[in-house]
Amino acid sequence: MNGYFKKTIISFLIFFCLFLNGCGEKVREKKLIIWVTHNPEELKLFREICKEWSEKTKFPIMVKRIPWGGHEAKIRSSLTIHANPDIARVDCSFVQELARFNGVEPLNDYGFEEMFSKLNKAALKSNLVNGKYYGIPDQATCLALFYNKKLLADKGVELPQKLDVNNFVEILKKVTDKEQGIYGIALEKSLWFHLPFFYCFGADLLDSTNRKFILSQKPGVEALQYLTDLYRVHKVEAGSWQAGSIGPEVGFLNQKYAFILSGPWNLARFNSKKNFDYGVTLLPEGPGGKATNIGGTNMVIFKKSPFKKEAAAFLKYFLSKEVQARWSSLLSQIPVNTEANALVNFSKLPQLKVFLEQIQFARARPQIMKNGKLFEAVEAELEAAFKGDKGSEEALKAARANAEKKVPALQ
């Protein structure tokens, strides 16, 4: 080995050691660790609430933010090496997976029974696995109908007292002005955004046992026919579900779409846009009555947590009516604790009040694992129906076959 070689190897090693020295956090202290997926405004308030609880109970608490886009992968991998936090905020469909793989604790064992009765039923039901609740909703969302006041006023359209699926089509026809590129409504591609229409026709994705796909039954076919007719027959839908098209929110903000289905997460953003006048109303009522879907996030307590009792105590504090009222007022969000409704001044948040009414008609998501697979199986066929490649019945039958093939719970 000559000197040149030695020098090269030594310089490599020095370089390696200098730059690859990490900054690890190894030892677990007596501290409640929470992983959240909040946005910065939510996170700021959440940290304040955590600090208050920590001061009251003298139990330290640490909040860490993880990206929404990778939260499932992050939690899964942390569970494999037992480096999970005590509490995590997860998507409602992910609770099912965590519960069935024995990753999280059933909350019934921690004195949550009284709290359960106060929470939104549909949001809570998404956490139900084998008769026990494995998560608790910390944020509940649903869809309502957003409308552009200017576009409606330009066509002299006023919303009726009671909006139903029939008079809604007439309104959409009046507002649509294809020459100017203005459409009555813009729909998303995701099935989650179509669910309120299916529900209001009396359809549902799965039966009460969560073992049978029933969207392909008559009410489901009627609902899909109604939706595809908006695009194909009445030509009042913008085709925004297609790849490369202008998305509903962008078109709505740019005065191109009169109605969109959206949730409370957009209230702050739409309110911050100058010279933009919009309103929110209940979704049209159908033969199956008023309906909407449920979304949002849930908090879970991990089985491997050494501080389960403290974690449960914190969740009870966070979901108390006072904290929820504060959360709702400051962030324009629907309180998950229904007792908090009385404490929120909705005169300052008129649009949020509509959501509060709408969420009463919300239906829970199917309580199965691989919820996403079920949605994917249906979405591909919905697109075929919208494009006219398949009839509504044919598309939903194909969706059923797809779902039964891909979703383990239906096999």
Binding site: N2, Y4, N39, R65, G70, S77, I81, K273, K274, T297
Partner: protein, 359 residues
């Protein structure tokens, strides 16, 4: 059809192209002036003298500027016409070529322009169709840099991408040299076995790799982010293919001159393989610069080891995205890649083409 110099057809084309250029200048200036206004308008009270003056300047500016610039453009063309070089150029072809390049550049740069403009918009305006913000603000840039500790994330990503790029290139070139120029037992089966691993999706390795990394005590360290990627079969394949094109006679003559393997490798193989090594370095750098999932998994949330792709993902929520912050952060994140490409583009193109045609 005669299109050469001096023909009538050429004169018409030249005239049309000149008009097109004047229009392009006008179009460009009608974009620049409102942008200029957007930067200043927030500083004046609506209705004040300066506000009115700025508005008037914005309205008249494009016309004035385009007249001035078009005059300069035509004057320059006229001067060029008198130069002796003009006779050797075909002005129509030249102008056409420039216009095509300008339009091509605009098309290529438009997404970047949109990114910068969105970053300059107030949050509520992020999704509006107007390219130019009504009021330009650097709030998003400041927020990203100061509040979100982007400097640190930037540094982390830079270290990881550079170190990984360097070592992957180094190890791949050594392995590539051995596989291309040396004979040893089971060389071919071993090479095919290595090639076969390319068919296994990277996701399959993720959990076992994570498990190993954790038990080595590397969780939340730079080691975890780079070491598992040092063995790069694609890099080995790339360098082997290139090194095979280097004549054996060069190596033999080096041997005759008394050079050992290390000297042959460092003094002959490496300098001759620079284009492919630069390409491999660039590709590895890019991979690590934008590797989200692995860097997310092996780091503790919000720790000082967080990298840029993970930090960028924080701007995307369940339903809403902080577009302006995300675009501002993206502006920062493309800088190293742009700089790297700028300096290494010659090697990169050379490497890609030479690797493609093995001769």
């Amino acid at each position: 059809m005669k299109t050469g110099k001096g023909s009538k057809w050429a004169d018409y084309c030249f005239f049309i192209l000149c008009a097109l250029n004047v229009y392009l200048i006008y179009y460009f200036s009608s974009f620049i002036f409102p942008l200029f206004r957007a930067f200043l308008v927030g500083k004046f009270v609506k209705g004040s003298f300066f506000y009115v003056a700025l508005t008037a300047f914005t309205n008249i500016g494009p016309l004035f500027f385009s007249l001035l610039f078009s005059g300069f453009f035509l004057y320059t063309l006229n001067r060029l016409k008198q130069s002796p070089k003009w006779r050797t150029w075909d002005p129509v072809k030249l102008l056409f070529l420039f216009d095509c390049l300008i339009i091509g550049a605009i098309i290529v740069l438009f997404p970047f322009l949109w990114m910068v403009m969105t970053a300059l918009k107030p949050e509520g305006e992020a999704l509006s169709w107007s390219l130019i913000p009504s009021i330009a603000t650097f709030k998003a840039f400041k927020k990203v840099w100061y509040q979100e500790r982007f400097g640190l994330y930037f540094y982390n990503s830079m270290v990881i991408a550079l170190v990984a790029g360097f070592f992957v290139t180094w190890f791949s070139s050594m392995a590539g040299y051995v596989f291309a120029k040396r004979n040893f037992a089971l060389k071919s089966p071993l090479f095919f076995l290595l090639m076969a691993t390319m068919m296994v999706p990277g996701m399959m390795y993720m959990v076992p790799q994570f498990f190993i990394v954790f038990h080595l005590g590397w969780h939340n360290t730079y080691w975890a982010m780079v070491v598992p990627h040092f063995a790069n079969v694609f890099g080995l394949f790339m360098t082997k293919q290139f090194i095979e094109t280097i004549p054996d006679s060069l190596i033999e003559s080096a041997h005759l001159d008394g050079a050992n393997e290390w000297q042959i490798f460092t003094l002959i193989i490496i300098p001759l393989s620079l284009p492919i090594l630069a390409t491999l370095f660039l590709l590895t750098f890019l991979f690590h610069w934008s590797n989200f999932l692995w860097q997310l998994i092996v780091t503790v949330p919000e720790s000082p080891s967080t990298t840029l792709p993970v930090a960028l993902a924080l701007f995307r929520g369940q339903h809403a995205t902080e577009w302006t912050s995300m675009m501002a952060a993206s502006c920062f994140s493309i800088i190293p890649i742009a700089v790297l490409f700028l300096f290494a583009q010659r090697f990169f193109i050379e490497g890609m083409t030479q690797g493609a045609v093995k001769g």
